[in-house]
Protein backbone atom coordinates (compact mmCIF):
# COMPACT_ATOMS: atom_id res chain seq x y z
CA UNK A 1 0.00 0.00 0.00
CA UNK A 2 1.20 3.49 -0.89
CA UNK A 3 1.88 5.54 2.25
CA UNK A 4 -0.17 8.72 1.75
CA UNK A 5 2.14 10.47 4.23
CA UNK A 6 4.56 10.65 1.30
CA UNK A 7 2.31 13.27 -0.27
CA UNK A 8 3.53 15.69 2.38
CA UNK A 9 7.14 14.52 2.60
CA UNK A 10 10.04 16.40 1.06
CA UNK A 11 8.13 19.67 0.58
CA UNK A 12 9.27 23.06 1.82
CA UNK A 13 7.23 23.40 5.03
CA UNK A 14 7.31 27.20 4.75
CA UNK A 15 6.32 27.50 1.09
CA UNK A 16 3.54 29.92 0.23
CA UNK A 17 1.75 29.41 -3.08
CA UNK A 18 0.53 32.33 -5.11
CA UNK A 19 -3.13 31.36 -5.40
CA UNK A 20 -6.30 33.17 -6.40
CA UNK A 21 -8.51 34.68 -3.71
CA UNK A 22 -11.09 32.12 -4.65
CA UNK A 23 -8.73 29.18 -4.09
CA UNK A 24 -7.67 30.65 -0.76
CA UNK A 25 -11.28 31.07 0.25
CA UNK A 26 -12.20 27.55 -0.86
CA UNK A 27 -9.34 26.09 1.18
CA UNK A 28 -10.39 28.05 4.27
CA UNK A 29 -14.04 27.09 3.94
CA UNK A 30 -13.05 23.45 3.59
CA UNK A 31 -11.12 23.52 6.87
CA UNK A 32 -13.82 25.43 8.73
CA UNK A 33 -16.42 23.02 7.47
CA UNK A 34 -14.38 20.01 8.53
CA UNK A 35 -13.93 21.43 12.03
CA UNK A 36 -17.63 22.15 12.30
CA UNK A 37 -18.64 18.65 11.23
CA UNK A 38 -16.30 17.17 13.81
CA UNK A 39 -17.53 19.47 16.57
CA UNK A 40 -21.13 18.67 15.69
CA UNK A 41 -20.50 14.93 15.19
CA UNK A 42 -21.99 14.94 11.70
CA UNK A 43 -20.25 11.75 10.72
CA UNK A 44 -21.66 11.02 7.27
CA UNK A 45 -20.67 14.45 6.05
CA UNK A 46 -17.37 14.30 7.87
CA UNK A 47 -16.43 11.00 6.24
CA UNK A 48 -17.39 12.38 2.85
CA UNK A 49 -14.54 14.88 3.23
CA UNK A 50 -11.99 12.05 3.19
CA UNK A 51 -10.93 10.16 0.08
CA UNK A 52 -11.61 6.42 0.30
CA UNK A 53 -7.89 5.80 0.73
CA UNK A 54 -7.49 8.88 2.95
CA UNK A 55 -5.81 8.89 6.35
CA UNK A 56 -6.10 10.94 9.52
CA UNK A 57 -2.58 11.09 10.89
CA UNK A 58 -1.09 12.38 14.13
CA UNK A 59 2.60 11.42 14.17
CA UNK A 60 4.41 10.63 17.41
CA UNK A 61 7.57 12.50 16.37
CA UNK A 62 8.10 15.91 14.88
CA UNK A 63 10.53 14.78 12.20
CA UNK A 64 8.42 11.82 11.13
CA UNK A 65 7.83 11.66 7.38
CA UNK A 66 6.17 8.24 7.19
CA UNK A 67 2.95 7.11 8.76
CA UNK A 68 2.66 3.49 7.68
CA UNK A 69 4.67 1.13 9.87
CA UNK A 70 5.64 3.84 12.40
CA UNK A 71 4.50 4.54 15.95
CA UNK A 72 1.78 7.19 15.70
CA UNK A 73 -0.74 8.86 17.98
CA UNK A 74 -3.33 8.42 15.20
CA UNK A 75 -2.94 6.57 11.91
CA UNK A 76 -6.45 5.90 10.75
CA UNK A 77 -7.80 4.64 7.49
CA UNK A 78 -11.45 4.95 6.57
CA UNK A 79 -12.16 1.57 8.20
CA UNK A 80 -10.52 2.53 11.47
CA UNK A 81 -12.30 5.87 11.50
CA UNK A 82 -15.62 4.05 11.05
CA UNK A 83 -14.55 1.79 13.89
CA UNK A 84 -13.88 4.75 16.16
CA UNK A 85 -17.30 6.25 15.56
CA UNK A 86 -19.05 2.91 16.02
CA UNK A 87 -17.18 2.30 19.26
CA UNK A 88 -17.54 5.76 20.73
CA UNK A 89 -21.26 5.81 19.99
CA UNK A 90 -21.89 2.28 21.30
CA UNK A 91 -24.18 2.39 24.35
CA UNK A 92 -21.55 0.46 26.34
CA UNK A 93 -18.68 2.84 25.57
CA UNK A 94 -18.29 3.56 29.27
CA UNK A 95 -15.68 6.26 28.99
CA UNK A 96 -17.86 8.18 26.54
CA UNK A 97 -20.70 8.58 28.98
CA UNK A 98 -21.55 11.36 29.17
CA UNK A 99 -20.49 12.28 25.65
CA UNK A 100 -17.82 14.87 25.19
CA UNK A 101 -18.13 18.17 23.36
CA UNK A 102 -15.48 19.61 21.09
CA UNK A 103 -15.06 23.17 19.93
CA UNK A 104 -12.48 24.05 17.30
CA UNK A 105 -11.09 27.30 16.05
CA UNK A 106 -9.05 27.00 12.85
CA UNK A 107 -6.85 29.81 11.65
CA UNK A 108 -3.61 30.91 9.94
CA UNK A 109 -4.62 29.15 6.73
CA UNK A 110 -1.85 29.18 4.16
CA UNK A 111 -2.05 27.40 0.82
CA UNK A 112 1.36 25.91 0.53
CA UNK A 113 1.13 24.51 -2.95
CA UNK A 114 -1.30 24.26 -5.83
CA UNK A 115 -0.35 21.27 -7.96
CA UNK A 116 -0.72 21.13 -11.72
CA UNK A 117 -3.68 18.75 -11.33
CA UNK A 118 -5.42 21.16 -8.98
CA UNK A 119 -4.56 19.38 -5.71
CA UNK A 120 -3.79 21.67 -2.77
CA UNK A 121 -1.44 21.43 0.18
CA UNK A 122 -2.76 23.61 2.99
CA UNK A 123 -1.38 24.28 6.44
CA UNK A 124 -3.17 25.91 9.33
CA UNK A 125 -3.30 26.12 13.13
CA UNK A 126 -6.06 25.00 15.41
CA UNK A 127 -7.20 25.35 18.95
CA UNK A 128 -9.67 22.88 20.39
CA UNK A 129 -11.40 22.75 23.74
CA UNK A 130 -12.85 19.46 24.87
CA UNK A 131 -15.45 19.26 27.60
CA UNK A 132 -15.58 15.82 29.15
CA UNK A 133 -16.74 14.71 32.56
CA UNK A 134 -17.27 18.31 33.68
CA UNK A 135 -13.76 19.43 32.84
CA UNK A 136 -12.34 21.43 29.95
CA UNK A 137 -9.08 20.41 28.33
CA UNK A 138 -7.26 22.33 25.68
CA UNK A 139 -5.44 21.10 22.63
CA UNK A 140 -3.58 23.06 20.09
CA UNK A 141 -1.41 22.36 17.11
CA UNK A 142 -0.81 22.45 13.41
CA UNK A 143 -2.75 20.91 10.54
CA UNK A 144 -1.36 20.06 7.17
CA UNK A 145 -3.88 18.82 4.61
CA UNK A 146 -3.25 17.26 1.24
CA UNK A 147 -6.50 18.00 -0.61
CA UNK A 148 -7.12 16.01 -3.75
CA UNK A 149 -9.10 17.80 -6.45
CA UNK A 150 -12.33 16.01 -7.28
CA UNK A 151 -14.99 16.89 -9.83
CA UNK A 152 -16.82 19.37 -7.65
CA UNK A 153 -14.42 20.09 -4.82
CA UNK A 154 -11.70 18.46 -2.75
CA UNK A 155 -11.16 15.38 -0.64
CA UNK A 156 -8.58 14.76 2.07
CA UNK A 157 -5.86 12.34 0.98
CA UNK A 158 -4.06 12.87 4.24
CA UNK A 159 -4.51 15.21 7.18
CA UNK A 160 -1.45 15.55 9.35
CA UNK A 161 -1.95 16.86 12.88
CA UNK A 162 1.03 17.95 14.96
CA UNK A 163 0.01 18.50 18.57
CA UNK A 164 2.25 21.01 20.40
CA UNK A 165 2.55 18.64 23.35
CA UNK A 166 2.89 15.47 21.29
CA UNK A 167 5.45 13.87 23.64
CA UNK A 168 2.98 14.01 26.50
CA UNK A 169 2.63 12.95 29.18
CA UNK A 170 -1.02 12.32 28.33
CA UNK A 171 -3.42 12.84 31.20
CA UNK A 172 -6.30 11.77 28.97
CA UNK A 173 -7.15 9.55 26.04
CA UNK A 174 -7.81 11.22 22.70
CA UNK A 175 -10.99 9.33 21.95
CA UNK A 176 -12.06 11.63 19.13
CA UNK A 177 -9.98 13.22 16.42
CA UNK A 178 -8.77 16.75 16.97
Amino acid sequence: MEDVAQLLAGRDPFAVANVSTETQRTAEQFLYRQAELLDEKQWDNWFALFADDGFYWMPAEEDQTEGDGQPNIFWESHDLMLMRVARNEHPRAHSQAPHNRLCHVVSNVIVESEEANGDLVVRSRFHCAEYLRYEVRNFTGKYRHYLRKTGDGYQIAVQRVDLVNREGPYEYVLQWWL
Binding site: P71, F74, M83, R84, R87, G168, P169, E171, V173, L174
Partner: protein
Protein backbone atom coordinates in the same frame (compact mmCIF):
# COMPACT_ATOMS: atom_id res chain seq x y z
CA UNK B 1 -1.68 8.91 61.74
CA UNK B 2 1.44 6.90 61.44
CA UNK B 3 1.00 3.27 60.59
CA UNK B 4 2.31 0.49 62.81
CA UNK B 5 3.40 -2.84 61.38
CA UNK B 6 0.32 -4.50 62.85
CA UNK B 7 -1.98 -1.94 61.31
CA UNK B 8 -0.32 -2.32 57.92
CA UNK B 9 -0.58 -6.11 58.12
CA UNK B 10 -4.25 -5.74 59.01
CA UNK B 11 -4.97 -4.04 55.67
CA UNK B 12 -4.70 -7.35 53.84
CA UNK B 13 -6.86 -10.35 54.60
CA UNK B 14 -6.94 -13.66 52.70
CA UNK B 15 -9.75 -12.55 50.41
CA UNK B 16 -9.94 -8.76 50.70
CA UNK B 17 -7.86 -5.63 51.05
CA UNK B 18 -8.57 -2.39 52.85
CA UNK B 19 -9.39 0.66 50.71
CA UNK B 20 -6.77 2.76 52.53
CA UNK B 21 -4.07 0.74 50.82
CA UNK B 22 -5.16 2.50 47.61
CA UNK B 23 -6.04 5.95 48.84
CA UNK B 24 -3.96 6.99 51.84
CA UNK B 25 -1.07 9.39 51.02
CA UNK B 26 0.93 8.18 54.04
CA UNK B 27 0.64 4.63 52.86
CA UNK B 28 1.82 5.78 49.45
CA UNK B 29 4.94 7.30 51.05
CA UNK B 30 5.55 4.07 52.94
CA UNK B 31 5.17 2.11 49.70
CA UNK B 32 7.81 4.28 48.10
CA UNK B 33 10.17 3.72 51.04
CA UNK B 34 9.55 0.05 51.59
CA UNK B 35 8.83 -1.23 48.11
CA UNK B 36 9.90 1.08 45.28
CA UNK B 37 12.98 2.52 46.97
CA UNK B 38 14.12 -0.82 48.26
CA UNK B 39 13.52 -3.61 45.77
CA UNK B 40 14.70 -3.82 42.14
CA UNK B 41 13.03 -1.29 39.86
CA UNK B 42 13.22 -1.29 36.08
CA UNK B 43 15.15 1.62 34.60
CA UNK B 44 15.31 0.92 30.89
CA UNK B 45 16.60 -1.20 28.04
CA UNK B 46 20.17 -0.87 26.82
CA UNK B 47 18.96 -0.02 23.30
CA UNK B 48 17.59 3.28 24.66
CA UNK B 49 21.21 4.42 25.06
CA UNK B 50 22.91 2.98 22.00
CA UNK B 51 25.86 5.31 21.62
CA UNK B 52 28.44 6.68 24.07
CA UNK B 53 27.02 9.77 25.76
CA UNK B 54 23.38 8.75 25.17
CA UNK B 55 21.23 9.19 28.22
CA UNK B 56 17.61 8.56 29.17
CA UNK B 57 15.76 9.76 32.25
CA UNK B 58 13.84 7.39 34.52
CA UNK B 59 12.46 7.30 38.02
CA UNK B 60 12.91 4.90 40.90
CA UNK B 61 10.14 5.43 43.40
CA UNK B 62 10.29 9.19 43.92
CA UNK B 63 13.93 9.48 42.84
CA UNK B 64 14.80 10.88 39.41
CA UNK B 65 17.64 8.95 37.78
CA UNK B 66 19.46 8.96 34.49
CA UNK B 67 20.66 5.95 32.52
CA UNK B 68 23.75 6.75 30.48
CA UNK B 69 26.31 4.96 28.32
CA UNK B 70 29.92 6.02 28.87
CA UNK B 71 32.71 6.32 26.30
CA UNK B 72 33.80 2.74 26.99
CA UNK B 73 30.31 1.47 26.26
CA UNK B 74 29.41 0.74 29.88
CA UNK B 75 25.86 1.59 31.03
CA UNK B 76 25.49 3.50 34.33
CA UNK B 77 22.50 4.56 36.37
CA UNK B 78 22.98 7.80 38.35
CA UNK B 79 20.80 10.09 40.40
CA UNK B 80 19.87 13.06 38.24
CA UNK B 81 21.26 15.58 40.72
CA UNK B 82 24.35 17.73 40.80
CA UNK B 83 26.39 17.22 44.00
CA UNK B 84 27.19 20.95 44.15
CA UNK B 85 23.92 22.67 44.91
CA UNK B 86 21.43 20.11 43.72
CA UNK B 87 20.43 21.13 40.19
CA UNK B 88 19.18 18.35 37.95
CA UNK B 89 21.94 17.44 35.53
CA UNK B 90 19.77 16.46 32.57
CA UNK B 91 16.48 18.12 31.85
CA UNK B 92 15.58 16.73 28.42
CA UNK B 93 14.01 13.27 28.65
CA UNK B 94 16.77 11.87 26.50
CA UNK B 95 19.75 13.09 24.57
CA UNK B 96 23.49 12.84 24.21
CA UNK B 97 25.70 14.33 26.93
CA UNK B 98 28.87 14.14 24.83
CA UNK B 99 32.03 13.34 26.78
CA UNK B 100 30.74 14.47 30.13
CA UNK B 101 27.80 15.85 32.06
CA UNK B 102 27.85 19.62 32.28
CA UNK B 103 25.82 21.29 35.02
CA UNK B 104 24.02 24.35 33.75
CA UNK B 105 24.24 26.19 37.06
CA UNK B 106 27.99 26.63 37.84
CA UNK B 107 29.55 24.44 35.15
CA UNK B 108 30.81 21.57 37.24
CA UNK B 109 31.49 18.69 34.89
CA UNK B 110 31.33 14.95 35.52
CA UNK B 111 32.60 11.90 33.71
CA UNK B 112 29.79 9.76 32.37
CA UNK B 113 30.25 7.33 35.26
CA UNK B 114 29.40 10.24 37.57
CA UNK B 115 32.88 11.07 38.82
CA UNK B 116 33.61 14.77 39.35
CA UNK B 117 35.84 15.99 36.51
CA UNK B 118 36.31 19.72 36.88
CA UNK B 119 34.83 23.13 37.54
CA UNK B 120 35.76 26.72 36.61
CA UNK B 121 38.12 28.65 38.92
CA UNK B 122 39.05 25.50 40.71
CA UNK B 123 41.56 27.26 42.99
CA UNK B 124 38.59 28.55 45.02
CA UNK B 125 38.44 25.07 46.51
CA UNK B 126 42.11 24.95 47.52
CA UNK B 127 42.42 24.22 51.21
CA UNK B 128 38.74 23.23 51.52
CA UNK B 129 37.24 19.83 52.21
CA UNK B 130 36.23 19.38 48.59
CA UNK B 131 38.03 16.26 47.45
CA UNK B 132 37.83 14.95 43.89
CA UNK B 133 38.17 11.39 45.15
CA UNK B 134 35.43 11.68 47.73
CA UNK B 135 32.23 10.18 46.26
CA UNK B 136 30.25 12.88 48.02
CA UNK B 137 31.40 15.26 45.27
CA UNK B 138 30.52 12.93 42.44
CA UNK B 139 27.04 12.20 41.10
CA UNK B 140 25.39 9.72 43.47
CA UNK B 141 24.59 6.23 42.34
CA UNK B 142 21.80 3.95 43.46
CA UNK B 143 23.10 1.38 45.94
CA UNK B 144 22.91 -1.37 43.32
CA UNK B 145 22.49 -1.50 39.56
CA UNK B 146 22.42 -4.61 37.43
CA UNK B 147 20.93 -5.85 34.22
CA UNK B 148 19.21 -8.97 33.06
CA UNK B 149 20.17 -9.57 29.42
CA UNK B 150 20.22 -5.82 28.66
CA UNK B 151 17.22 -4.83 30.78
CA UNK B 152 18.61 -2.47 33.43
CA UNK B 153 17.37 -2.27 37.00
CA UNK B 154 18.43 -0.40 40.10
CA UNK B 155 17.82 -0.85 43.79
CA UNK B 156 18.25 1.98 46.26
CA UNK B 157 18.99 -0.44 49.06
CA UNK B 158 22.26 -2.19 49.86
CA UNK B 159 20.62 -5.31 51.15
CA UNK B 160 18.18 -7.73 49.67
CA UNK B 161 18.54 -10.46 47.09
CA UNK B 162 20.39 -9.98 43.81
CA UNK B 163 18.48 -9.08 40.66
CA UNK B 164 18.35 -12.60 39.24
CA UNK B 165 17.01 -14.03 42.46
CA UNK B 166 14.49 -11.22 42.72
CA UNK B 167 13.20 -11.80 39.20
CA UNK B 168 13.00 -15.57 39.64
CA UNK B 169 10.45 -17.11 37.26
CA UNK B 170 9.43 -13.70 35.93
CA UNK B 171 12.74 -13.53 34.04
CA UNK B 172 11.07 -15.80 31.49
CA UNK B 173 9.32 -12.71 30.12
CA UNK B 174 12.64 -11.02 29.31
CA UNK B 175 13.97 -14.26 27.85
CA UNK B 176 10.93 -14.38 25.60
CA UNK B 177 11.37 -10.77 24.48
CA UNK B 178 14.86 -11.70 23.26
CA UNK B 179 14.67 -15.38 22.36
CA UNK B 180 11.70 -14.87 20.06
CA UNK B 181 14.05 -12.94 17.77
CA UNK B 182 15.70 -15.11 15.11
CA UNK B 183 18.60 -12.64 15.38
CA UNK B 184 18.67 -13.25 19.16
CA UNK B 185 18.44 -9.53 19.93
CA UNK B 186 15.59 -7.19 20.68
CA UNK B 187 15.49 -3.46 20.18
CA UNK B 188 13.28 -0.64 21.48
CA UNK B 189 11.41 1.19 18.71
CA UNK B 190 11.15 4.96 18.97
CA UNK B 191 10.26 6.61 22.22
CA UNK B 192 7.55 5.52 24.63
CA UNK B 193 4.00 6.68 25.09
CA UNK B 194 3.57 8.21 28.53
CA UNK B 195 0.08 7.95 29.96
CA UNK B 196 -0.97 9.22 33.37
CA UNK B 197 -3.56 7.08 35.09
CA UNK B 198 -5.75 8.92 37.57
CA UNK B 199 -5.58 5.97 39.93
CA UNK B 200 -3.36 3.98 42.26
CA UNK B 201 -0.52 1.90 40.76
CA UNK B 202 -1.88 -1.31 42.27
CA UNK B 203 -5.17 -0.90 40.44
CA UNK B 204 -3.25 -1.02 37.16
CA UNK B 205 -1.37 -4.20 38.07
CA UNK B 206 -4.54 -5.87 39.31
CA UNK B 207 -6.31 -5.10 36.07
CA UNK B 208 -3.64 -6.71 33.91
CA UNK B 209 -4.35 -10.22 35.13
CA UNK B 210 -8.06 -9.75 35.63
CA UNK B 211 -9.60 -12.04 33.07
CA UNK B 212 -13.14 -11.26 34.15
CA UNK B 213 -12.94 -7.65 32.92
CA UNK B 214 -12.20 -7.60 29.15
CA UNK B 215 -15.59 -8.82 27.99
CA UNK B 216 -17.27 -6.19 30.12
CA UNK B 217 -14.95 -3.19 30.02
CA UNK B 218 -14.19 -3.56 26.31
CA UNK B 219 -17.60 -4.69 25.15
CA UNK B 220 -18.24 -1.62 22.99
CA UNK B 221 -14.94 -1.96 21.16
CA UNK B 222 -15.22 -5.70 20.63
CA UNK B 223 -18.80 -5.56 19.39
CA UNK B 224 -18.27 -2.55 17.14
CA UNK B 225 -15.27 -4.30 15.58
CA UNK B 226 -17.21 -7.52 15.01
CA UNK B 227 -19.99 -5.62 13.35
CA UNK B 228 -17.66 -3.69 11.10
CA UNK B 229 -15.74 -6.85 10.18
CA UNK B 230 -18.94 -8.38 8.98
CA UNK B 231 -19.73 -5.42 6.74
CA UNK B 232 -16.23 -5.46 5.30
CA UNK B 233 -16.47 -9.19 4.53
CA UNK B 234 -19.84 -8.68 2.88
CA UNK B 235 -18.19 -6.04 0.69
CA UNK B 236 -15.71 -8.74 -0.33
CA UNK B 237 -12.76 -6.88 1.19
CA UNK B 238 -10.02 -8.09 3.52
CA UNK B 239 -10.45 -7.31 7.20
CA UNK B 240 -7.55 -5.14 8.43
CA UNK B 241 -5.44 -6.65 11.20
CA UNK B 242 -6.48 -3.79 13.49
CA UNK B 243 -10.10 -4.89 13.46
CA UNK B 244 -9.23 -8.53 13.97
CA UNK B 245 -7.32 -7.54 17.13
CA UNK B 246 -10.25 -5.49 18.40
CA UNK B 247 -12.97 -8.02 17.64
CA UNK B 248 -10.94 -10.53 19.65
CA UNK B 249 -12.11 -8.61 22.71
CA UNK B 250 -15.65 -9.80 22.08
CA UNK B 251 -14.76 -13.27 20.79
CA UNK B 252 -14.24 -14.75 24.22
CA UNK B 253 -17.18 -14.76 26.57
CA UNK B 254 -16.69 -15.32 30.25
CA UNK B 255 -16.50 -19.06 29.54
CA UNK B 256 -13.70 -18.49 27.08
CA UNK B 257 -11.73 -16.52 29.61
CA UNK B 258 -11.81 -19.36 32.12
CA UNK B 259 -9.41 -21.29 29.86
CA UNK B 260 -6.45 -19.11 30.75
CA UNK B 261 -4.79 -19.79 34.03
CA UNK B 262 -2.87 -17.38 36.19
CA UNK B 263 0.25 -18.15 38.20
CA UNK B 264 1.73 -16.36 41.21
CA UNK B 265 5.50 -16.44 41.85
CA UNK B 266 7.79 -15.43 44.68
CA UNK B 267 8.28 -11.70 45.42
CA UNK B 268 4.83 -10.81 44.11
CA UNK B 269 5.35 -11.56 40.41
CA UNK B 270 2.54 -13.23 38.46
CA UNK B 271 1.46 -14.17 34.96
CA UNK B 272 -1.53 -14.82 32.74
CA UNK B 273 -1.16 -17.59 30.23
CA UNK B 274 -1.57 -16.64 26.60
CA UNK B 275 -4.85 -16.34 24.84
CA UNK B 276 -4.01 -14.76 21.52
CA UNK B 277 -3.59 -16.96 18.48
CA UNK B 278 0.10 -16.42 18.04
CA UNK B 279 0.75 -18.98 15.40
CA UNK B 280 -1.93 -18.42 12.81
CA UNK B 281 -1.41 -20.34 9.62
CA UNK B 282 -0.32 -17.25 7.70
CA UNK B 283 2.62 -17.01 5.28
CA UNK B 284 4.40 -14.44 7.46
CA UNK B 285 4.12 -16.64 10.50
CA UNK B 286 5.40 -19.63 8.55
CA UNK B 287 8.36 -17.60 7.37
CA UNK B 288 9.00 -16.42 10.92
CA UNK B 289 8.92 -19.98 12.26
CA UNK B 290 11.29 -21.04 9.45
CA UNK B 291 13.76 -18.34 10.51
CA UNK B 292 13.45 -19.41 14.15
CA UNK B 293 14.21 -23.05 13.18
CA UNK B 294 17.20 -21.85 11.21
CA UNK B 295 18.52 -19.79 14.10
CA UNK B 296 17.92 -22.20 16.95
CA UNK B 297 17.25 -25.64 15.47
CA UNK B 298 13.77 -27.10 15.50
CA UNK B 299 13.75 -28.40 19.06
CA UNK B 300 14.93 -25.22 20.76
CA UNK B 301 12.78 -23.02 18.51
CA UNK B 302 9.66 -24.99 19.40
CA UNK B 303 10.58 -24.72 23.05
CA UNK B 304 10.80 -20.93 22.77
CA UNK B 305 7.62 -20.54 20.73
CA UNK B 306 5.78 -22.99 22.95
CA UNK B 307 5.93 -20.61 25.90
CA UNK B 308 2.82 -18.49 25.74
CA UNK B 309 2.76 -15.81 28.40
CA UNK B 310 0.17 -13.19 27.61
CA UNK B 311 1.16 -11.00 30.53
CA UNK B 312 3.95 -11.15 33.07
CA UNK B 313 3.85 -8.76 35.99
CA UNK B 314 7.25 -8.09 37.49
CA UNK B 315 6.33 -6.76 40.88
CA UNK B 316 5.97 -3.91 41.60
CA UNK B 317 6.80 -2.00 38.48
CA UNK B 318 6.24 -3.78 35.17
CA UNK B 319 3.78 -5.45 32.90
CA UNK B 320 5.32 -7.34 29.99
CA UNK B 321 3.58 -8.94 27.02
CA UNK B 322 6.33 -10.89 25.29
CA UNK B 323 4.40 -12.31 22.31
CA UNK B 324 3.41 -8.77 21.36
CA UNK B 325 6.74 -7.26 22.38
CA UNK B 326 5.18 -4.68 24.70
CA UNK B 327 6.51 -3.46 28.01
CA UNK B 328 4.84 -1.07 30.40
CA UNK B 329 6.62 0.33 33.40
CA UNK B 330 5.10 2.13 36.36
CA UNK B 331 6.33 5.45 37.72
CA UNK B 332 4.04 6.19 40.70
CA UNK B 333 3.27 9.88 41.19
CA UNK B 334 0.92 9.74 44.16
CA UNK B 335 -1.70 7.54 45.79
CA UNK B 336 -4.12 8.52 43.02
CA UNK B 337 -1.78 9.22 40.08
CA UNK B 338 0.43 6.82 38.18
CA UNK B 339 2.55 7.41 35.14
CA UNK B 340 3.11 4.51 32.78
CA UNK B 341 5.79 4.40 30.12
CA UNK B 342 4.82 2.09 27.32
CA UNK B 343 7.49 0.66 25.04
CA UNK B 344 7.52 -1.79 22.19
CA UNK B 345 10.28 -3.82 20.62
CA UNK B 346 11.42 -5.09 17.25
CA UNK B 347 12.74 -8.64 17.08
CA UNK B 348 15.98 -8.78 15.11
CA UNK B 349 15.69 -10.68 11.82
CA UNK B 350 11.96 -11.40 12.21
CA UNK B 351 9.80 -10.67 9.14
CA UNK B 352 8.40 -7.13 9.05
CA UNK B 353 4.89 -8.54 9.53
CA UNK B 354 5.81 -9.74 13.01
CA UNK B 355 6.83 -6.19 13.93
CA UNK B 356 3.61 -4.86 12.41
CA UNK B 357 1.63 -7.08 14.74
CA UNK B 358 3.43 -5.58 17.70
CA UNK B 359 3.01 -2.04 16.37
CA UNK B 360 -0.70 -2.57 15.78
CA UNK B 361 -1.21 -3.73 19.35
CA UNK B 362 0.90 -0.81 20.61
CA UNK B 363 -1.31 1.57 18.66
CA UNK B 364 -4.69 0.07 19.47
CA UNK B 365 -4.17 -0.73 23.13
CA UNK B 366 -1.49 1.62 24.35
CA UNK B 367 -1.40 4.81 22.28
CA UNK B 368 -2.92 8.08 23.53
CA UNK B 369 -5.79 7.48 21.07
CA UNK B 370 -6.49 3.95 22.30
CA UNK B 371 -9.94 2.49 21.81
CA UNK B 372 -9.15 -0.21 24.37
CA UNK B 373 -7.39 1.29 27.38
CA UNK B 374 -9.70 4.30 27.28
CA UNK B 375 -12.30 2.24 29.10
CA UNK B 376 -9.76 0.67 31.45
CA UNK B 377 -8.45 4.07 32.47
CA UNK B 378 -11.97 5.25 33.07
CA UNK B 379 -12.81 2.25 35.26
CA UNK B 380 -9.63 2.72 37.30
CA UNK B 381 -10.45 6.39 37.78
CA UNK B 382 -13.93 5.37 38.92
CA UNK B 383 -12.45 2.81 41.33
CA UNK B 384 -10.12 5.40 42.79
CA UNK B 385 -13.08 7.72 43.40
CA UNK B 386 -15.23 4.90 44.73
CA UNK B 387 -12.55 3.88 47.20
CA UNK B 388 -12.44 7.41 48.60
CA UNK B 389 -15.91 6.69 49.89
CA UNK B 390 -16.35 5.07 53.29
CA UNK B 391 -19.41 3.11 52.16
CA UNK B 392 -17.31 0.02 52.79
CA UNK B 393 -13.75 -0.34 54.00
CA UNK B 394 -12.99 -3.37 51.83
CA UNK B 395 -12.10 -4.33 48.28
CA UNK B 396 -13.29 -7.85 47.47
CA UNK B 397 -11.00 -10.53 46.03
CA UNK B 398 -13.34 -13.43 46.76
CA UNK B 399 -13.57 -15.01 43.31
CA UNK B 400 -12.30 -18.59 43.73
CA UNK B 401 -10.74 -17.71 47.07
CA UNK B 402 -9.60 -20.74 49.03
CA UNK B 403 -9.08 -22.73 45.82
CA UNK B 404 -5.59 -21.54 44.92
CA UNK B 405 -3.07 -24.34 44.49
CA UNK B 406 0.29 -23.80 46.19
CA UNK B 407 3.41 -25.74 45.29
CA UNK B 408 6.96 -24.77 46.24
CA UNK B 409 6.20 -21.08 46.46
CA UNK B 410 4.24 -21.08 43.18
CA UNK B 411 0.50 -20.50 43.28
CA UNK B 412 -1.87 -21.54 40.50
CA UNK B 413 -5.41 -20.35 40.03
CA UNK B 414 -8.22 -22.90 40.28
CA UNK B 415 -8.76 -24.67 36.94
CA UNK B 416 -11.44 -23.27 34.61
CA UNK B 417 -11.85 -20.09 36.59
CA UNK B 418 -11.36 -16.38 36.25
CA UNK B 419 -9.88 -16.54 39.71
CA UNK B 420 -8.84 -13.39 41.56
CA UNK B 421 -5.80 -15.31 42.77
CA UNK B 422 -3.30 -12.79 41.27
CA UNK B 423 -4.96 -9.97 43.22
CA UNK B 424 -4.73 -11.91 46.45
CA UNK B 425 -1.20 -12.94 45.61
CA UNK B 426 -0.01 -9.40 44.94
CA UNK B 427 -1.61 -7.96 48.06
CA UNK B 428 -0.05 -10.68 50.18
CA UNK B 429 3.34 -9.82 48.74
CA UNK B 430 2.53 -6.16 49.36
CA UNK B 431 1.85 -6.89 53.00
CA UNK B 432 5.17 -8.73 53.31
CA UNK B 433 7.12 -5.90 51.67
CA UNK B 434 5.38 -3.31 53.80
CA UNK B 435 5.87 -5.11 57.08
CA UNK B 436 9.26 -6.78 56.71
CA UNK B 437 10.91 -5.30 53.69
CA UNK B 438 10.93 -8.69 52.00
CA UNK B 439 8.38 -9.78 49.46
CA UNK B 440 8.69 -13.45 50.30
Amino acid sequence: MSWTTEQLAGLVEPDRAHRKAYTDPEIFDLEMERIFERTWIYVGHESQVKNPGDYYLAQIGRQPVVMVRDQQGQVHVLYNRCPHRGAQLCSARSGNAGNHFYCSYHAWTFHLDGKLESMPAKQGYDGTNLDFDNPEFSVSRPARTDNYRGFWFASLSDDGVDLKTHLGESAAAFDQLIDRAPGKETEIVGSCFRMVQQSNWKIFLENQLDSSHPGVTHESTGKAAQHLEKTIREDGRDVPMELAFLSDLARLGHDGWTKFGTVGYRNGHSSLEGYMGLRPDAPDTTEYVRRMYEAYGEKKAEEILGINIHHMLVYPCMSIQPPLQQLRTIRPLGADRTMTEIWHFRLKDAPEAIYRRSLTYYYLVNSPSTMVNADDLFNWWKCQHGLESSASEWVSFHRNAGQDEDHDGITRSAPDSMSEMPLRHMMHAWRDYMTSGEGV
